[in-house]
């Protein structure tokens, strides 16, 4: 993608520097396609998970063509977080017109270089991604940190609603009292996002998934441990991310991450896969150096320098090219103000299966002030199944209780169920590799009405262990 000459060259400030120690000193390489990177003096990739600023000293998007970098847009005090549309014609980005502005979401049309504000929000709006079906998702600053929100991207008539219960306008996708920050949109239409683990309470960066209507939130994998962030999906379907400072991947056959054997360096995640299958990565030799853009072919012992910029971190490379549109998620949420959830067998867990079924399940919710509120308990059947009606769009968690009411096992984090969502869990933290067994849950043989754990006043019957209304 060539840009008009009116773009000022910034070649004077850009150099294809000799790599620092640990990097090969070979001639710069360039992928065949143009790409965009974010250049920032200081880059704190995980600051957003604390509600902080990733680019505390500003940032600027650069378009790199044939090894030369130029500002992607002019007239902005700061720009970052480029995402190229599926047809390769437009670019969403976060920008500040003036230094004192909040980050807002803008869209650049590459053909005529026109820029429009994609959405106006009261607080920072960052890291936008196009979604299929004419929508977009971004991170919106909220009192509890960043949350994922979604809206139409302005390219479709206003009658196509993602969520029939939400209608047009902004649709919140995450409902935690901690930060959630988008990382990628997967081919199957789900949104990959970063948040602390345990979700809603922890501080270890982890990768999670959510459908484009906010339903189905879950960890990508359950082998939790060291920090995982900066995930991007490859054409193969694998997700590559930064694990600590090295690269690792999730792959469909495996329930746990596998290391990516790449040259020794610190990687900033958010790689870009080129048409040839090579990766554009943001890497640095050590913490006291800056990230540069490197090209790496899997199996190669060395990184090839593509672009460095003195005093700047170059991060989040994005190819300027058409790409396969992910699948649109057809929201099946019902027009309810609550949600239903059924566990098939609460005894099952990666932490060790319980030998007998707990007696009951207790639901806790975080209220708007962050206080834990017990909304009720419901019995668990001998086969470990339970079926409950829950508050929707609120942080909730379950605790399994024995007959004496003591906690046998408790969720460490918080999750949510969307309004109108009906969700099934195979067990309690069993991992995505665990498929359900084919049997009628005993709770459904007792009643098809979920026990009401919404905490509503008329749910007192449910709190005594009787089915509530649906």
């Amino acid at each position: 993608m060539r840009f008009p000459a009116r773009f000022l060259a910034v070649a004077a400030s850009i150099a294809l520097l000799l790599p620092a120690c640990g990097f090969l000193t070979e001639a710069a390489q360039a992928p065949s396609a143009d790409f965009i990177v974010t250049a920032a003096p200081v880059y704190e990739p995980l600051a957003a998970l604390r509600g902080g600023e990733r680019f505390p000293r500003g940032a600027q998007l650069l378009l790199v063509h044939a090894g030369k970098a130029e500002p992607l847009v002019t007239g902005f005090a700061a720009t970052a977080d480029a995402n190229v549309s599926f047809d390769g014609k437009t670019v969403l980005f976060a920008g500040k017109k003036e230094a004192g502005d909040t980050w807002q979401i803008w869209e650049l049309t590459l053909a005529d270089l026109s820029i429009r504000k994609a959405i106006s929000t009261a607080a920072d709006a960052e890291r936008p991604f196009y979604l299929p079906g004419g929508r977009m998702v971004w991170a919106q600053r909220e009192p509890w940190g960043f949350q994922l929100e979604s809206a139409e991207d302005g390219h479709l008539p206003g009658y196509t609603f993602l969520n029939p219960t939400a209608g047009p306008g902004v649709l919140p996708l995450t409902y935690t009292q901690a930060s959630a920050f988008p990382a990628d949109v997967l081919a199957d239409g789900r949104i990959l996002f970063e948040a602390g683990f345990p979700l809603g309470s922890g501080s270890t960066p982890e990768l999670f998934l959510v459908y484009a209507d906010g339903s189905g939130v879950e960890s990508y994998r359950c082998d939790h441990g060291r920090a995982r962030w900066g995930g991007r999906q490859l054409a193969s379907g694998d997700v590559v991310f930064t694990h600590g400072a090295t690269l690792a991947r999730f792959t469909s056959p495996l329930a746990t991450e596998t290391p990516v054997v790449a040259p020794h360096a610190e990687y900033a995640g958010a790689i870009a896969e080129t048409a040839s299958g090579a990766w554009l990565v943001s890497a640095r030799a050590a913490a006291n150096t800056h990230y540069a853009i490197k090209l790496w072919k899997q199996g190669s012992p060395a990184l090839q320098t593509v672009l460095t910029l003195t005093g700047k971190n170059l991060v989040e490379p994005v190819l300027v090219a058409p790409r396969t549109t992910p699948k649109r998620h057809p929201s099946g949420l019902h027009d309810w103000s609550y949600a239903n959830m059924m566990a098939l067998d609460a005894r099952l867990s990666r932490e060790g299966d319980l030998k007998s079924a707990p007696a009951s399940v207790r639901l806790e919710m975080l209220d708007a002030q962050g206080h834990v509120v017990v909304t009720g308990t419901a019995p668990i059947e001998l086969d470990g199944s339970f079926f409950v009606k829950t508050p929707a769009d609120k942080p909730i968690r379950f605790a399994l209780l024995n007959a004496k009411g003591a906690v046998v096992r408790q969720e460490r984090g918080w999750f949510w169920i969307r309004s109108g969502e009906q969700r099934i869990c195979v067990g309690c933290h069993v991992g995505p590799e665990r498929a359900s067994e084919n049997r009628v849950p005993a709770v459904l043989l007792r009643s098809t009405t979920p026990a009401d754990l919404t905490g509503a006043k008329d749910a007192s019957a449910a709190q005594q262990g009787k089915p509530g209304g649906n």
Binding site: T160, G189, G216, P330, Q422, R423, E433, E437, R439, V440
Partner: protein
């Protein structure tokens, strides 16, 4: 598909003329409100709908409920929501804090557009379609919108640029290219393959062109095309290789081909829908699996005379001889009948070939849909391809194997007790395993996965290590572990549409895969696990609407992460013999028996509660939301899918006598079906006669009734009178599959005679009634 199918399809298409897309008159819903009768009751109204106050184009005497029903149908047809046309009233806030809609308000332009469009359809139907005989379905919103407000413009492509999969929705089949003498005029639809013992010939069983194509195995040139019977399914060689046997499912015959002359030397009558066929090593017996009669016929191999039948599983279809020839293994595509709401049960029937008796029935717990079976050359590993459904769990989401796991069951000396292993991964599925082949050196197992359109390759030593190293689950199944396949699946090789049968060459260096809906054969280099070449079979080079619809039906590419396709639950475009719990009806509510697809035309509305007015609604946005749970086909593809489904022909009825003849029992049963007085001389009201609700050519008057069969976990009492098409095949019965036999419908589930007057009948009389019903 046979030539006759093609003809029938063409006729069907012609009949639908202008509106050849499968749609139903939207207002038919209101017209089909059950008539007041002794045994019909009004729909319970959990909600009340106020009387409409501002009807302009709809009849002004409609009730609030009727208008609501119409609006729901419009929503489905247009993919719209209430607030697409109706404004919010900021002064009227609902309990959820949202403004209620002001239905009387006319300020939204979309509402005026909707009125205008509705009036237009009324005019088209009244002024034009009504004047055309046999014009088919009326025009509705869905005729054009197909579940979406945003209709993509149709630009007719030039002939030269016509993509093979694009056709005008609803267009009739384009005339196929004129064939030269000897050319095939149908799609070939290769289903099964095998090599001659000397490896010089490749026999290709072509289902739709109804022939065996004999190819030179070196050049792949056609040596001869041998016409066989209707809709052939099974093929095998005699041990000597002198004779080739082909089963013909639609005329219940077996073609015997002399492989020296490549001529059919005999056509023997066999059982109902013969499928797999195998001759024993001694040349004494031929074994034929009969899908409809659920048995294996034992024939004299010299004369074709049937000596006896051996009961096999339901839908007996595929046969495999053990390498020593002593045992014959039989699989079946529909699960055996099991108690209501319990896991499906299937079996491998093991037959002693020398004595022609059943030796064993190896249970396949939780499996519904069992296909090819193969043995390693040393006979120490047996492998069968199968589906493991999750029909008892509410279908809330597809991820984590929510609807199906695709599995193999392994058995034999190397394996020990039979064990089930999954082929799927966490985010990628090996949808609908069908064919199995094992490398001569036992190093690899190959499985065709129909829905995923690929061949899965398993490393046998790694597989055996996995099953022996892991603690064996008490259930005998690893199907719950989607990470298991990483231990033994080493490749997934994309091939063509609907890969089915396959065969290895003698050295095992090449694997030949029949791509049924592509008329090609993929040749896989087994060393590199890549398609090295593709044989394109002679036949039409354009893809008709029906063919495209069939490809759409059989692929799993639209299901979330490729887990399922239509054919998962409609095996070979029929049914699956099990019941399901669909999420939108509520967890544990509205358990529904899966229905046969053949002969659907003229039986609208669909679903047991009549909730879907036409096939595009059935297969359109609702399917996308609640089955695929992922973006599905475009409108053109939906139209082709609807055409395919709507024109599925009904297979020959084996209980029907030639012409209008009936057996005495059938005649007695017909009299009971149509009687107007019971055995005590008491009149039976018109509405309580079998022949009232089950009237018409398909055995349904297409209306809803309360026949007392609803269960406490059903959301309503009204059920559509079910078509009687092929009812003999489609157990279990009733909307929720609670009746395992036709007899149970009346002896267990009709205590108050609400489902017709039957409690005065004796068992013999019920048997007569059944005999008659089987002819429908």
């Amino acid at each position: 598909m046979s030539r006759r199918i093609q003809t029938a399809a063409g006729t069907g298409l012609a009949a639908v003329a202008v509106t050849s897309l499968a749609v139903a008159f939207i207002l038919a819903g209101s017209a089909q409100v059950p008539q007041a009768s002794q045994n019909t009751v009004p729909t319970p109204e959990p909600r009340t709908f106020p009387a409409p106050t501002n009807l302009n184009v709809l009849p002004k005497n409609l009730t609030g409920q009727q208008v609501h029903n119409i609006m729901e149908q419009w929503e489905a047809s247009l993919g719209a929501q209430c607030n697409s046309c109706h404004t919010e009233d900021p002064n009227n806030i609902g309990p959820k804090g949202r403004p209620r809609l002001n239905f009387a308000d006319d300020s939204k332009p979309m509402k005026a557009a909707a009125r205008a469009m509705y009036s237009m359809t009324e005019r088209i139907n009244k002024d034009y379609l009504a004047k055309i005989n046999s014009s088919g379905d009326p025009v509705t919103c869905g005729t054009c919108h197909r579940g979406s407000l945003n209709i993509k413009p149709f630009v007719p492509p030039s002939d030269a640029a016509l993509p093979i999969t694009q056709k005008l929705p609803g267009s009739r089949e384009q005339p196929l290219p004129q064939a030269n003498a000897g050319d095939a005029v149908d799609y070939a639809s290769p289903l099964e393959l095998l090599f001659s013992p000397d490896g010089l010939r490749l026999y290709v069983l072509c289902q739709q062109s109804e022939e065996v194509r004999v190819l030179n195995a070196a050049t792949y040139a056609v040596i001869k095309n041998i016409a066989v019977g209707r809709v052939p399914r099974g093929i095998s060689l005699s041990p000597s290789g002198d004779r080739l046997f082909v089963t013909n499912t639609w005329d219940d015959t077996l073609s015997v081909i002399d492989t020296r002359t490549l001529a059919v030397t005999a056509t023997w009558p066999v059982g109902a829908e013969p499928s797999g066929v195998v001759e024993d090593r001694t040349g004494k017996h031929l074994f034929v699996a009969n899908r409809i009669s659920n048995d294996v016929a034992v024939l004299d191999a010299a004369t074709g005379e049937e000596e006896k039948r051996l009961l096999a599983g339901r839908g007996a279809s595929y046969l495999a001889l053990s390498p020593d020839g002593n045992k014959l293994y039989v699989t079946h595509v529909y699960p055996n009948l099991s108690p209501h709401r319990t896991a499906p049960e299937s079996e491998i029937t093991v037959i002693d070939t020398a004595r022609a008796v059943v030796l064993d029935r190896m249970p396949l717990h939780g499996v519904a849909g069992v296909f090819h079976l193969a043995f390693s050359a040393d006979g120490r590993i047996g492998v069968v391809a199968e589906y493991h459904p999750k029909n008892l769990v509410p279908l809330a989401h597809l991820e984590h194997g929510g609807y199906f796991v695709d599995t193999l069951t392994l058995f034999g000396a190397d394996v020990g007790k039979p064990i089930e292993v999954p082929l799927d991964e966490l985010e990628r599925y090996a949808s609908r395993p069908f064919g199995v082949a094992i490398a001569p050196d036992k190093s690899r197992i190959y499985i065709t996965c129909e829905g995923s359109e690929m061949v899965t390759v398993i490393d046998v030593p790694r597989l055996l290590h996995f099953i022996h190293a892991r603690p064996r689950p008490a259930s005998g199944s690893f199907a719950y572990d989607l990470a298991a396949s990483a231990n033994y699946v080493i490749a997934s090789i994309p091939v063509g549409h609907d890969p089915r049968g396959m065969t290895l060459n003698r050295s095992g260096s090449k694997l030949f895969v029949a791509n049924r809906l592509e008329d090609t054969i993929s040749i896989i280099d087994t060393r590199s696990n890549r398609v090295a070449a593709t044989i394109v079979l002679a036949g039409p080079k354009t893809v008709s609407a029906i063919r495209h619809g069939e490809q759409t039906f059989y692929t799993s590419r639209y299901g979330f992460q490729g887990q399922i396709g239509c054919a998962n639950c409609h095996i070979d475009s029929t049914f699956d013999g099990i019941t399901w719990n669909l999420e939108p009806d509520g967890f544990g509510r509205n358990i529904v028996d899966n229905k046969m697809l053949e002969g659907l035309k003229g039986t609208e509305p669909y679903k047991w509660n009549g909730g879907n007015p036409n096939i595009p609604t059935e297969c359109g946005p609702r399917t996308e939301k609640y089955f695929w749970r992922s973006e599905q086909y475009d409108d053109l593809t939906l139209a082709d899918l609807a055409i395919y489904i709507r024109n599925l022909p009904t297979r020959p009825n084996r209980w029907k006598m030639p012409g209008r003849e009936m057996t005495p029992a059938q005649e007695r049963g017909q009299a009971l079906f149509t009687r107007d007085t019971d055995k005590f001389g008491k009149p039976i009201s018109e509405y309580n006669r079998c022949s009232y609700c089950h009237s018409g050519p398909k055995g349904t008057n297409q209306k809803l009734f309360d026949v007392g069969t609803h269960k406490p976990n059903d959301n309503g009492t009204l059920l559509k009178s079910a078509p009687l098409t092929e009812i003999a095949l489609t157990a279990p019965y009733l909307h929720d599959g609670s009746a395992r036999t036709l007899e149970e419908i009346w002896t267990v589930y009709n205590p108050e005679d609400k489902h017709g007057r039957t409690n005065d009948l004796t068992k013999d009389e019920l048997n007569d009634l059944i005999e008659y019903l089987r002819t429908r």
